[in-house]
Amino acid sequence: MRILVVGGGTGGTIVANNLARRLSGEIRAGKVKITMLSASDKHMYQPGLLYVAFGQMMPDELYRDQASLLESSIDFHVDPVEQFELDKNQVKTKSGKVYMYDVMVIATGSRIVPEQIPGLAEGAETFYSEAGAVKMFKRLREFQGGKIAVVVGVPHKCPIAPVEVIFSLNDYFKARGIRDKVTIKYHYPIGRIHTIKEVATWAKPEFDRMGIEYETLFNVKEVDVQNKVVKSEEDTEYAYDLLIAIPPHRGMEVIEKNGLGEGGWIPTDRHKLTMNGHDNVYVVGDTTNLPVSKTGSAAHFEAEVISENISSIVKIGTPVRDYDGKVYCFIETGHDSATYAMFNYQNPPNLKPPSKPMHWFKMSYNKMYWTSVRGLL
């Protein structure tokens, strides 16, 4: 069986490594071959970008060589797919090569598209790229006081990030001794301060205690960069000195160009994780159109289900597990405390009070990620 993994982010890497271990005997016997095609020879730990934006991590700490993370039996090529030919069970790559498959896993991820909102790319700081996070830190470092606006594009990766950046801003300016000179105003697209009801209920008194201002039902329409004013679809506006944006996202261009899914999100069965209409094509992580968080955590739990099922199909001819919508998100509640939200399709999160040990666990996880992505944790 030829298994093709397209994309070397969190989901694709965990699937490939997990499969390589589960099917090691079949690979040695020449019955299974795993190939991974990726656009990059580097793998980035994306949650670390928040720490880079506050000077707590250096960018080089976020990267490993992709090849060093993969089981040696995986045939890895830096050669991104340009054409998906699902009717022929094959893809064509940038270099012109054709790869045929019996089973394919699409894990191409998502991208930020700040340019979709006029003025946002020019006017806002963001920490969703290495260059952006470094630039944001430099802006924060030189900031001596005034009004900071945080705005949130839709959809966005890591739905906890908007509240995390608020807590981090509060602690950062407290540590510099100028918190009283900084107004922080949070703007959120729906009618409460977080989409998860339990997070909103918990965060609201925290915001009040920290003196964070907030406006809900605020979807960014445009940024007047010259006059430093951010305007909403709901016809409100705010004049800022420093604008921080969680940028809107789309799926990857290659998905849209090949007509695999509107917005770059591939229609996916919420339990089987197969592409609708294609039982031999699995979709993992941000690439799906599932109504679950776009996070490494969701990608991780989906990847485990996909690899277990592909492996069982090889061994006994049938999948064995359904994805239950599981997501586990750390929530950094400042620079020295954290909590978490765990939920699935049926069970809402039950938030625990923030604690220092949970923050230390998150700090440890920042290193343990490399074990996790190898499929060991």
Partner: protein, 76 residues
């Protein structure tokens, strides 16, 4: 009349039904109708609040066997 686009946000806590609807509304064209399915008890009120504030149009809003079916037309 254009085809109704279904946004199935049943049994989801994050990003949640309204956030899902906003995502799909951004991808839709003016005049398109979207039907949101939600099992979140609050959707019956939360969704019209946003739709009305931003200036789109609620075509229907009903709960059938525990699921909110909310039809929205993109007006701008």
């Amino acid at each position: 009349m254009s085809e109704i686009k279904l946004v199935d946000a049943r049994d989801t806590f994050c990003p949640g039904p309204l956030m899902e609807l906003i995502t799909h509304m951004k991808q839709a064209s003016v005049g398109d109708t979207l039907e949101l399915l939600s099992t979140d008890e609050g959707s019956g009120a939360d969704v019209p609040e946003w739709v009305n504030k931003v200036g789109h149009e609620i075509l229907s809003n009903e709960k059938i066997e525990g699921v909110w079916h909310i039809k929205v037309r993109k007006a701008k």
